[in-house]
């Protein structure tokens, strides 16, 4: 039992699942950067009180699930999304889809994801993959961060679909409800609304811990970490910042680069000179995120670690905040009717 499906590797799992599932139902023009941009994927949030693996939580992109949801909505593609309390029902629903020729997106936990290297297997429950068929006891799996397709046994798939803890997937699966040809006009308007929504999320989100304000806020906090936490814990927190910035395949401010690529691709649909210009600014921000990660590594490896080094680390983030603020303000000023 195998559905018609083409595996394309992506830098980030949700982008990849979104792009691959939607291409399969007729959105042929979609690429990873377009999905990310239309889903307004770029974000920043620092949640000091939420502890993940004994360190504070950072995110460099929007909430899990939103990229798929927003992209489908913007392209007027109806979505089916189901959670299950019973494992049998969850497997039955998956089987029904596959029999009907529908590849299915699944939210899974990575702790028991057997094909992942042990070093990456934390209790992180918002990984996404596509199941596109079954051969006897093995489900055929397209994990977008991997070069090639893989497979999981019935038992293994059930275990990751019913991982427990924060953001527990509860067997969650999702897919586009019908085949739909997406027109260039639809894409054009989806790109526009995606950018507008991202401007709103980065510039106008209330509170001090999220968006461009959140980046500067984190920078200011980092300068105090050395005294407040002691060098060892401060190093662990910085390592956490780098790990969250990286995830898999989003190397060094990688989400910034994906967004830069999106703005360049958007130019093909909206020939507005501002778009490639802002793309350059976002690339610069991405480069600074990378430089900040190198600085952080110097600290957590113990090569450097004076207060001046922490100050410089914080200053990187404050500078990034300024650049991203300027970039999104420029995007906000675009006159889309012209």
């Amino acid at each position: 039992m195998k559905t018609e499906f083409q595996h394309l590797q992506a830098a980030h799992c949700e982008n990849g699942v979104t792009t691959n599932l939607l291409r399969a139902v007729g959105a042929h023009q979609l690429t990873e950067p377009l999905s990310f941009g239309i889903g307004s994927g770029l974000f920043f949030i620092y949640i000091p009180l939420l502890k993940i693996n004994n360190g504070p939580a950072f995110a460099f992109r929007t909430m899990p699930g939103l990229i798929f949801k927003r992209t489908c909505k913007s392209l007027a593609i109806p979505v089916v999304r189901k959670k299950f309390s019973s494992r049998e029902a969850a497997e039955q629903a998956l089987e029904d889809c596959l029999r009907a020729g529908q590849p299915v997106g699944c939210q899974v936990g990575v702790y028991y994801l057997t094909y992942f290297p042990k070093e990456y297997r934390f209790h992180f429950n918002a990984h996404n993959l596509i199941v596109y068929g079954r051969e006897e006891d093995q489900y055929l799996v397209s994990d977008p961060v991997m070069e090639n397709v893989t497979s999981l046994s019935r038992y293994e798939l059930e275990r990751v679909r019913f991982a427990k803890g924060a953001l527990a997937p509860r067997g969650q699966l999702y897919y586009p409800r019908e085949k739909k040809i997406v027109t260039d006009d639809q894409l054009r308007s989806a790109i526009k609304s995606g950018i507008k929504r991202n401007v709103r999320d980065m510039l106008y989100i209330p509170g001090s811990i999220a968006g461009v304000k959140g980046i500067a806020y984190t920078g200011k906090k980092i300068k105090k970490w050395r005294d407040k936490l002691g060098p060892e814990k401060a190093g662990l927190y910085l390592a956490q910042l780098v790990r969250m910035q990286e995830e898999i395949g989003t190397g060094g401010g990688g989400f910034r680069y994906i967004y830069g690529a999106f703005l360049q691709e958007a130019y093909a649909f909206h020939p507005i000179d501002t778009l490639p210009e802002v793309s350059k600014m976002i690339t610069e921000a991405g480069d600074l995120w990378r430089a900040a990660a190198v600085q952080a590594a110097g600290i957590y490896k113990g090569r450097i670690g004076s207060q001046a080094d922490f100050d410089q680390m914080g200053d990187y983030l404050i500078k990034i905040s300024g650049i991203e603020k300027e970039a999104f303000k420029t995007l906000a000023k675009i006159n889309w009717k012209a």
Binding site: M146, G165, A239, V242, A297, Y300, K301
Partner: protein
């Protein structure tokens, strides 16, 4: 980032797959390239695992000193916090905290121990002795 600056270092993920990275080519146009990993990221991951190793060892000592029950050890070994243990076992958090006292743990009936053993993916014997044989 320029295409030629994409790092090609060793990383844990390298055993499994190369990753896609976005970068600009000489004309400034975005393109993708495969990367084997980045040292900076590999170091951050190493540090996280070193910290986990320390926590596991500390927990083991606490159990040997009868300051905690083996639950603490397995919680650290499986990278869990009380919330995750609670979600897998169905016990309330405060119940689990109580079960982390050696005296209380030793009197737990087998069916309750079994729930912990399943959550930690070990046998009852391993749960009590902390002797785990991993692949």
């Amino acid at each position: 980032m320029k295409k030629e600056d994409i790092p090609q270092d060793d990383g844990a993920l390298n055993k499994l797959t190369k990753e896609v990275v976005y970068a600009v080519d000489q004309s400034g146009k975005y393109t993708t390239e495969l990367s084997t990993g980045w040292e900076v990221k590999a170091n951050a991951l190493d540090l996280a695992w070193k910290d986990i190793g320390n926590r596991i060892e500390k927990a083991r000592q606490q159990v040997l000193n009868r300051e905690a029950s083996p639950l603490l050890y397995f919680m650290e070994l499986r990278l869990m916090d009380i919330g995750i243990v609670s979600a897998y076992t169905g016990f309330w958090k405060w119940t689990i905290r109580r079960h982390m006292k050696p005296g209380v743990f030793e009197k737990l009936p087998e069916n309750k121990l079994q729930r912990y053993a399943e959550a930690f993916n070990v046998s009852l014997e391993e749960l009590k002795s902390m002797n785990v044989h991993e692949d």
